[in-house]
């Protein structure tokens, strides 16, 4: 039996009063516990979709369904709680004047969850940082540590879906491996569903079960990770994209 968590139907997003159409008729369906990737080059509309799903931009046509129900224009707290986002740039996604404790306490208070300190300590442990990080400011943390805090901020409200906007593209390769491993472990342990955006096909193939390739605001095709690895694709653009990302080093 299928258990769809997130679904987009004919999602069209325009900017500047329809002058620019960033996303045209996007359609996808994500099952519970699945990791779904959106891939494409800059300006293809992948991040726009993510922001619309998150509720940062509710000015779209078509519909986004969460657990079978259409999300309203004005999102309620339970919608925000169910879907949280991790941003691309760990240097821009943490408030420069707030210490980790305050960053993590805010969502707990806003959602009225209570039991603040226990949740903070637990989520910090979960992302591989100890409680001693509570009283640090972002500028005292490395890029990888910041991204862990950003993940902790998303996780502390116990969401069902994590929206990942290029979570490792601003990080070094070695740190990228750590963060990707962390995300893999969290999905397994907490039973999360991921919607991940990236321009790196190797990262997407590593993290996701299914991938949608986007170009000029349209989803060209949807392929499974094994098909990506085997090069079993239908569109020329996908093939070109794969060829450009092929690793040059063979051990």
């Amino acid at each position: 039996m299928r258990d769809t968590v997130l679904e987009a139907v004919d999602l069209t997003i325009s900017f500047n009063d329809g002058a620019v159409t960033a996303v045209k008729g996007a359609k996808f369906r994500i099952e519970r516990g699945e990791s779904y990737g959106l891939i494409g080059e800059s300006g293809c509309g992948k991040s726009t979709i993510l922001r619309a799903v998150a509720g940062l931009n509710t000015d779209y046509d078509g519909s986004i369904l969460f657990e079978g129900r259409e999300l309203p224009e004005r999102r309620r707290k339970e919608h925000f709680r169910a879907m949280q986002m991790v941003f691309q740039d760990p240097y821009g996604s943490l408030h420069p004047r707030k210490m980790v404790q305050a960053v993590l306490a805010e969502p707990v208070r806003l959602m009225g969850l209570g039991d603040e300190q226990r949740r903070i300590d637990e989520v910090l442990r979960n992302v591989g940082l100890g409680p001693e990080f509570r009283f640090r400011y972002p500028h005292e943390l490395s890029g990888g540590q910041r991204q862990r805090i950003a993940i902790a901020r998303a996780l502390i409200v116990e969401p069902k879906v994590l929206l990942l906007d290029e979570p490792t593209s601003a990080l070094d390769v070695s740190v990228q491996a750590e963060i990707l491993n962390l995300l893999t472990r969290l999905r397994r342990e907490l039973g999360l569903t991921y919607l991940m955006v990236s321009h790196d096909i190797a990262v997407i193939a590593h993290m996701c079960d299914r991938v949608a390739i986007m170009q000029h605001g349209r989803i060209l095709e949807e392929i499974t990770a094994p098909d990506v690895r085997a090069g079993r694709v239908a569109e020329d653009y996908t093939r070109e994209f794969l060829a450009a990302s092929a690793p040059a080093i063979t051990a």
């Binding site: 491996a177 993290m207 080093i249 051990a251």
Partner: protein, 282 residues
């Protein structure tokens, strides 16, 4: 054997901050012939600072020492600022990550390329324009006449970087330092820009230092690779042997990349070894 294009011996760069001094580059040595040399490393490895030191474009808080820093016969450490100005651009060119910051936003791209040529060659405006148009054509810009008259904000990232390459290569420098020239570009555009750079480097016979964090890119594009970590050269090897690298850091770096051809449940994480920082070099 001919003279090396560039000789770097025991290069050290210290940064004097308000609180403490950082040793950013620690005893880097290499010689560069007529080849494409890649310098790879993670952020903070000192790869960019090495490139800047060669151009003598380090920030004012940097103190640079070296047993030798020679470009051909010129001692770059002892050269006056006036000599350096003559060398920069005409002898050594630098291509940076984002063309948006390197191009003058108020001047048409063609004029900028023609000016770059005229600063180093005494020619008429008309001739400089001819050369600039020819150069735009050689970086595979389809309609050079139209592109000549547009402003930098009107071009895409990939075209912008090709324009930068045209501008930097028109004085026919002997050495080109490219610092992450394609990291701001999309994968499919990246190829195009690299092949343009490759073609021009081959044609003009220039040497190239290609600074990048991307191992695959460097392996694909360069002849030789220096792997840097914590300000030191960990390994110096031919690019085609990168897959058979010896140093544990290089190996770990390669291992930690997700790969399309080898699915893995978990990515190996680098276990940093303190001897990489302090120990004797192989």
């Amino acid at each position: 054997m001919t003279d090396p294009v560039l000789t770097v011996e025991n290069l050290n760069i210290h940064f004097h901050g308000s609180a403490r001094t950082t040793h950013a580059v620690r005893g880097v040595s290499f010689t560069l012939g007529h080849e494409k040399l890649g310098i790879v490393g993670e952020s903070g490895s000192g790869k960019s600072q090495t490139g800047r030191a060669i151009m003598r474009l380090s920030p004012p808080s940097a103190r640079i020492t070296a047993d030798a820093l020679r470009f051909g016969r010129t001692n770059l450490l002892a050269a006056s600022e006036k000599q350096m100005r003559a060398i920069r651009g005409s002898e050594i060119a630098m291509i940076l990550q984002d063309p948006k910051f390197s191009l003058n936003p108020l001047m048409t791209v063609g004029k900028q390329i023609a000016e770059a040529y005229r600063t180093h060659h005494r020619v008429s405006k008309a001739e400089a324009k001819e050369r600039a148009l020819a150069m735009l054509e050689s970086v595979h810009i389809r309609d050079p006449k139209r592109v000549y008259d547009i402003l930098p904000h009107e071009v895409s990232g990939g075209m912008g970087q090709r324009i930068m390459i045209a501008m930097m290569l028109i004085p026919e420098p002997k050495l080109i330092i490219a610092d992450e020239p394609t990291s701001a570009l999309d994968v499919t555009v990246r190829r195009q820009v690299l092949s343009v750079l490759d073609e021009l480097v081959d044609r003009t016979g220039a040497s190239l230092i290609f600074i990048s964090h991307d191992l695959n890119l460097v392996a694909d594009f360069c002849d030789r690779v220096l792997v840097m970590y914590a300000g030191r050269v960990m390994e110096d090897l031919p690019a085609r042997d990168l897959g058979r690298a010896n140093h544990p850091y290089t190996r770990a770096l390669l291992e930690s990349l997700p790969r399309l051809d080898q699915p893995r449940a978990e990515l190996p994480v680098i276990r940093r070894d303190d001897t990489w920082r302090t120990g004797a070099l192989a």
